[in-house]
Subunit: 112 residues, 2 copies
DNA sequence: CATCGATTTGAAGATTTCTGCAAGTGCTAA
DNA sequence: TTAGCACTTGCAGAAATCTTCAAATCGATG
C-alpha cells in the first residue's frame, strides 16, 4: 500500500490536533464567519489565530475570501463537520470506557 | 463552554496524527493482532512501534493483553473504525478539491 | 537456573510545532 | 494622503514530539 497515503491521513488528523483549530472548525459549521468574530469567540491573540487559520487553509479544510474590510472563512467541505461529529462520538466512547475502568479500580480496593 | 473539552478533542485527533499509529489502527480493524504481526506489517523498529502503541494505549484507543509469549492489541471500541472511515472520506473530498484547483490553475495558463 | 524470543522502558539528540512580539499589507473613510 | 481598523507574516525562544540506542521485563524452554 502507498506510504504517502498514511502520511496524508496522519497529516489530516494532525491538522485537527489543536484546540484553537478545533474551535474554529466548530464555529464555522453554522456558516462563514469573519476573523473578527472568531477572534471574539476564541480568546487567543490575533497573530496566533491567523497562524492557525493558515494551517487550516494549507490543509484545505477552510477557504477564505475578502468581504470589504473583513476576511471571511468557511469550511471547504461539509464533510469536515462529519469528521468532528465522529470525533465527538469516539471521545464519548473512550471517556466512558476510561471512567468505567476508573470505577473498577476504585471498587477493587485502595492498594494494588 | 468548557475549555478542557476542546483540549480533549484536540488530543484525540493528535493521537491519530502519526502514520504508524494510523496503520496500527487500520490493521486492528479486522480484529486483534500480536505485536509481532504489526511489526511484520509496518516496517518500523520494535521500540518505536512500542512507543506508538503506548501512545494509543494512553489515549484509550487500544487495549492489550498477553497471550502466552505474545502481547495482543485490539481496538478498545469499534467507533475508532468509524473515525478512520470519516477521515478517509474527508481526505477524498479535500484532495479532489485540491486537484480540481490544480487543474484549474493548469488550465489558466502556465504563468500566473 | 540460564537463556532466548518478545516487548517495553528510559533517555538523549534531532525535528517539529506553538506562541507572542514587532512589523507589514489591504481597505475604507476623513 | 493620512489615519485606522482588520489581518497576515517573519521570527525567535519555549515546548512538545520523534527516533533510536541501550538496558530491563516477562514467559517459555532447555
Amino acid at each position: 500500500m502507498s506510504v504517502p497515503l498514511y502520511q496524508a491521513k496522519a497529516e489530516l488528523f494532525r491538522t485537527l490536533g489543536h484546540p484553537v483549530r478545533i474551535r474554529v472548525l466548530e464555529l464555522l459549521q453554522d456558516g462563514p464567519l469573519p476573523v473578527r468574530d472568531l477572534l471574539a469567540a476564541i480568546d487567543v491573540e490575533a497573530s496566533n489565530l491567523s497562524q492557525q487559520l493558515a494551517v487550516l487553509r494549507r490543509a484545505g479544510m477552510v477557504t477564505s475570501y475578502r468581504d470589504g474590510p473583513l476576511v471571511m472563512y468557511a469550511l471547504s467541505t461539509p464533510d469536515v463537520a462529519d469528521l468532528l461529529a465522529a470525533g465527538r462520538r469516539i471521545l464519548g466512547a473512550v471517556l466512558t470506557d476510561r471512567d468505567a475502568l476508573l470505577d473498577e479500580l476504585r471498587a477493587s480496593g485502595t492498594d494494588r
